[in-house]
């Protein structure tokens, strides 16, 4: 073999060794990354940094879940349909009361104009005065009932907004675990990595299932709020 050929052969061997060493180092790093993730029982840290987009997604959206889902930022339940009915009924009853009082006043005014004696006129004047007071009080009750109804509307709208946000963040976290689960299922070489991957897979399945159940719970609550909006 000529010296030139020997140099080329030597360089090729060195290149192959470098590639092999690089691959081996990358594998060792990946295994170490997976083992680090497997030290944790739950949460975003169970996703190895090798799965950068899943880990980043979980780290970014995860901290928003509790503030938006636990009621810290606003209501996350609309309680019951009866609360909406009660608020609507309050306004309807107050309006009905005012209408009845106004009818009585009209009748009293008619009676007064037909009254024959001063005593009768005074009786109807007093009645009208009392009815005017009652109508004024009825108006205040109507204002309060209208405020209560607005309050109910606001609570329901706020809860719909909170639940929407909560579901969005929870879904983003669930998707991170679902995507990590898809990836980890394909980790088959070498055996040591496969074993750690199997352990991680169990954790992701539990996380996905838990987040899914929470999404269902909050979606049910969201649907209730939507249908109970005054």
């Amino acid at each position: 073999m000529s010296s030139a050929k020997r140099i080329v052969a030597g360089l090729l061997a060195l290149g192959a060794a470098t590639v092999a060493l690089g691959a081996s180092t990358a594998l060792a790093d990946k295994l170490s990354d997976f083992k680090e993730a497997d030290r944790y029982d739950e949460g975003c840290r169970t996703i190895p940094v090798t799965y950068s987009s899943e880990r980043d997604g979980c780290d970014r959206e995860g901290p928003n879940v509790h503030p938006w889902c636990d009621g810290d930022k606003g209501p996350v339940t609309c309680v019951s349909e009866e609360e909406t009915r009660k608020a609507k009924r309050g306004v309807e009853d107050a309006k009905k009361n005012i209408d009845e009082l106004k009818d009585k006043k009209t009748k009293a005014e008619s009676n007064k104009s037909n009254a024959k004696t001063d005593d009768e006129k005074k009786k109807y004047s007093d009645e009208i005065a009392q009815l005017e007071k009652d109508i004024y009080e009825g108006g205040k009750k109507l204002d309060q009932a209208a405020k209560d109804l607005d309050g109910r509307k606001k609570l329901v709208d706020d809860a719909i907004y909170m639940l929407d946000k909560c579901i969005g963040y929870r879904r983003a976290v669930m998707n991170s675990f679902a995507a990590a689960l898809d990836k980890v299922r394909n980790e088959s070489e070498p055996q040591e990595l496969k074993d750690v991957a199997r352990s991680l897979r169990g954790k992701y399945e539990k996380a996905k299932s838990g987040h899914e159940e929470q999404i269902t719970a909050k979606t049910n609550a969201w649907n209730n709020c939507k249908s109970w909006r005054p």
């Binding site: 901290p63 636990d70 719970a217 909050k218």
Partner: protein
Amino acid sequence: MKNAIQPTQVEVIAQIRAAFPAEPLQFEGALTGGLDSGAYREHVEGKTWEELDRKYVLSRSDVLSFLDTRHLVAVLPVYLRSLVEDGTQTPVPDTLLLVLDRKNRARFAELVETLDPAQRAAVVAVLEMFATTESGQLADAARAAVERWTAHLSHQENQ
């Protein structure tokens, strides 16, 4: 159950207390969803279910979706009590009614098997009371859960 006399709220709470003794909770290693830096675990550790800060614990009913069965049973009485006392005033029913009626048969059976007869009876009593006193989708969910628990328990008795 036509014309059956319903137990009062006080009686059902007493039933929960009798079925779930107030023992210190051991939550080290419990799975709670992993997004709260262990806050729930730290909060409940070493306390009995009667000593827990109800406001905090009820706001965290999401943990029920992540806890393993042993830990779930340990805090279950707090949430059952809320179903009786608070009805739909808190978000607890949204999660608890799903957890008590999981479509996954194995997980449902595991929960039932982990509870003793007095605890199972307490769960059914709570669900019945909730189904009777509330209305709408959540009451329907409670009724469906009662039917499933009753069917499961009678099936067990017949075996």
